[in-house]
């Protein structure tokens, strides 16, 4: 990618500085502070505590369990999520937008109610209290990440290459394996990183389904920090966690294949040959729907058998205490939903600001070695929050942000900031592969024609990536809506969010409180589907506009115009060259 502009402009420096500042204040500094309290309790370095915790046989077992759980869940999510990505983002059928939104429901459901639903579902089977129950639940929660992240990238892949391969006699599976899969590489790796990090740091589901027998690094950090106040031990494990995450990100960076230019594709009608994939994804969909259906059923089930709307009606109330009618909650679930929406809107806004800004910045070429290292470091650092314990971060906020002008410990500002820390990496993983695929020649051409940097950004990158951007915003909003760990730590009772209220209902004795929690969880799912549905519809508009331009793309057999990259393609020339020419034509 030699000749295009790679100068470091003041804008890019300012953008990079703002990102580092956000990450520094709301992540790196608090985490460093709390780890420092463990490593250097009295100001002088003391690694004895860390050595002690790392030397325990229990620690080794826990690290092994965490790794195994995350690896198996990640592999399963990738295998089970791919068919869904194809069906939902490559095929065109009625109700597609609705199914896309529904597919993300498991991802936002509160772990406590799903955990109890799973536990009841598994009772009496060999899965009851077993390690595999945890893995299954992790797959349930995270398979949507693969479907969506990979799907969004798949949607942007120019289908003409596959079509050409088919013309040349390649079968569907061989085309998938040799043409499509390599091009999906960056998105697949991105999705796998996210699922791995989520699975490795899972908390509630591990406790509820494993009965605390199967500690993970995350549950152990929680135990050591919030129950024993063993900060050296927790710091040791936090360092282990960080080393893990950095290693995973490094390996993923090595595995990332070259960037790929993309073309929005509105999907094709299903064909007869699609049935194995369609059947596979349907099976996955049904399996995912079982626990959700159980949850919906439980929200309508009356205590004496039969059906009732009482639990739903109770959502305007405060829950009932043990036999006395006293309130369990500080705010009603409906008010909590309002809080959730407000926090999630703010959180998603910050996440998009950070995520989109970072994606644009990271997708631009850099000339120097130093610059590219800095860029790689920033890219990795932005992913770190996914791999660090919410407990570590929460306690870090307590000890770091405790003096003016940053005494934010009891400020509501921290809630959306913490949510954005979790959502931004998903935004980046969704947008970065897409923006990296934007042909740098387009930017150069725009600049040559006199467009300023803002204009280039607006009329080249943002225009080309508008659908993924809208989709990423929907995803960010959903993540913020469902975020529990950090939000529970930071939100106050009078501004509790719906997941926090659900957890509280489920953990307090009182008639009907669990059923009310189930109804509230279904409500959360409905709101999420509605939000994602709106994002789908908003994304469909630009989709239509781009499709109308499609006829400008040369037909598969038409001789293509000469490409700005210098390749003149002729019928029968290598597939890639022909496709490249087609893309260049379309984009100009």
């Amino acid at each position: 990618m030699g000749g295009h502009r790679a100068a470091v402009t003041p804008w890019r420096l300012a953008g990079g500085a703002a990102l580092v500042a956000f990450l520094g204040v709301f992540f790196l500094w608090p985490v460093a502070e709390i780890v420092a309290r463990g490593i250097a309790p009295d100001g002088s370095l003391d690694l004895a505590g860390i050595g002690e915790v790392l030397g325990r046989s229990r620690t080794l077992r826990i690290v092994g369990q965490t790794l195994a759980q995350a690896v198996i869940a990640t592999v399963a999510c990738v295998l089970l999520g791919l068919p869904g990505a194809f069906v939902l983002y490559r095929l065109r059928f009625r109700g597609r937008a609705a199914v896309r939104a529904l597919a993300l429901v498991p991802f936002v459901l509160p772990t406590v109610v799903v955990g109890v639903a799973f536990k009841v579902l598994f009772a009496g089977t060999p899965l009851d209290g077993s390690w595999w129950a945890i893995v299954l639940a992790l797959v349930f929660f995270n398979v949507a990440v693969v479907t969506r992240t990979v799907g969004i990238a798949w949607e942007e892949l120019d289908p003409s290459i596959e079509e050409s391969a088919a013309d040349l006699g390649s079968g569907p599976w061989s085309t998938f394996g040799r043409v499509t899969l390599p091009r999906l590489g960056p998105a697949l790796v991105s999705a796998a990183i996210i699922v791995f990090l989520f699975s490795a740091t899972a908390f509630g589901v591990v406790l509820v389904l494993g009965g605390a027998r199967f500690g993970t690094v995350e549950t152990e950090i929680w135990l050591l920090t919030s129950q024993y106040l063993d900060l050296p031990g927790a710091a040791g494990l936090s360092v282990v966690q960080l080393v893990f995450v950095v290693a995973v990100l490094w390996a993923a960076g090595r595995a990332r294949s070259r960037t790929e230019l993309r073309t929005p594709f509105a999907g094709r009608a299903p064909r007869r040959g699609d049935w194995p994939v369609a059947a596979g994804s349907t099976v996955v969909g049904v399996l995912l729907a079982v626990p959700i259906a159980a949850l919906v059923g439980r929200s309508f089930a009356s205590a004496g058998g039969g059906w009732t709307l009482d639990h739903w009606a109770a959502l305007t109330g405060l829950g009932r205490g043990a036999g006395s009618g006293g309130a369990v909650l500080g705010v009603t679930p409906l008010e909590a939903l309002g809080n959730s929406l407000a926090f999630a809107a703010a959180g998603a806004f910050v996440a998009m600001l950070v995520g989109l800004g970072a994606s644009v910045l990271l997708s631009r070429p850099v000339a120097s070695r130093w610059g590219s290292r800095l860029r790689a470091g920033l890219e990795g650092a932005l992913m770190l929050p996914l791999g660090v314990s919410a407990v570590t971060l929460g306690f870090g906020y307590l000890v770091a942000l405790d003096a003016p002008p940053l005494d934010l410990r009891s400020s509501p500002v921290l809630v959306p900031m913490a949510q954005a820390l979790v959502a931004a990496p998903l935004v980046i993983r969704t947008l970065l592969p897409v923006l990296r695929g934007v042909d740098p020649l387009l930017r150069d051409a725009a600049a040559d024609l006199g467009a300023g940097p803002g204009r280039v950004l607006w009329s080249v990158e943002l225009r080309l990536a508008v659908r993924p951007i809208v989709a990423a915003a929907g995803l960010a909003f959903a993540v913020c809506l469902g975020e529990f760990g950090a939000t529970a730590f930071l939100s106050r009772p009078d501004a509790a969010t719906l997941p926090v209220v659900i957890e509280r209902l489920a953990s307090h004795p009182g008639p009907g409180n669990l059923a009310m929690a189930n109804a509230a969880a279904v409500l959360l799912a409905l709101v999420t589907v509605a939000a994602l549905g709106i994002a789908e519809l908003a994304g469909a508009g630009p989709d239509g506009r781009l499709r109308r331009r499609e006829p400008a793309r040369p037909g598969r057999s038409a001789p293509a115009a000469s490409s700005p990259r210098g390749g003149t393609s002729i019928p029968g020339a290598p597939v890639a060259a022909r496709a490249r020419a087609g893309r260049a034509h379309r984009s100009s």
Binding site: V25, W29, A32, V116, S226, V246, G377, P412
Partner: protein, 341 residues
Amino acid sequence: MGNAVRPFRPAAALAAGAVVVALAGCAQGVPPAPGGTGAGPSDAAPASLTLVTHDSFALSDGILEQFTAETGIAVEVVALGDAGELVNKLVLTKDSPLGDVAFGIDNTFSSRVDGIVNDLTAIDSGDVCVNVDHEAYAAAGMEEPRTLADLIEPAYKDQLVVEGAGTSSPGLAFLLATIDEYGEDGWQDYWRALVANGVQVDAGWTDAYYATFSGPSSEGTRPLVVSYATSPAAEVVDASAEPPTGYLEDTCFRQTEYAGVVAGTEHEAEAAQLVEFLLSPAVQADIPGSMYMYPIVEGTPLPETWAAAQAAPAAPRELDPAEIDANRERWIEEWAAIAQP
């Protein structure tokens, strides 16, 4: 991607971060936090006190407002997690306290806040007891267990579910009950016998009670669960009928909750006033309904349904707080080695 951890410069980040925070605060439309304390317009009395407490803290509407009406001091409540988290956060922030008054430090943690929270005053108490599903035993035609010793009888094999002592406060209370009964050298053998008798260990109260216990509002199959003495009252639907569940008196362990003045507060006198207010009849009478705890002041009326279920345990077990704090971690570790191998 590669080397993601870079040297970090707090000063630079602080400066840049201040800008980000300011921008973010404006952009989001989130109202700024109400100040924890602030001087009143005319006199020296503070406009507000901050009460830090645990997640289970609740008082009916209007109760704290009553305090404000009487004294002119507004109270802001900040919950800091469960009882253990509350204590540890108080310890961590002792140089820059999060509030003026702390409520909800229980006897299993109270010795940890020496010098951090002063003038600890008992406000309420509750009991953790093994709950029993009366209907299940009646249906099976079996006699219910009565004592801790009964729970290791073969007749009650695979019938008890408890919470983990490391992950749950009722779980820890039950472990302490067995230590009180069998002593420092005997409780390990008792737990080995419990494990041999098929005790199930769940992580937390929610999953143990709702997913494993067999009571009317639960979906599990085990008729014995470690829960609270007040839980049977929550299962009473018809106050005139026999309560469907109850608790085993011999298994009860008492948790006492304290309030105190956070060391370093600028409003010590006012904070003491608030602690005193928590002992007033208005608050004490509200505690059972709002927090499922027994008021500490004798003679405070209790809700009717509580009486319909079962009276409070007469002589629950207790341990010396200092002994608990000195041994907690070792006990839990030994317990985990036996109960969660």
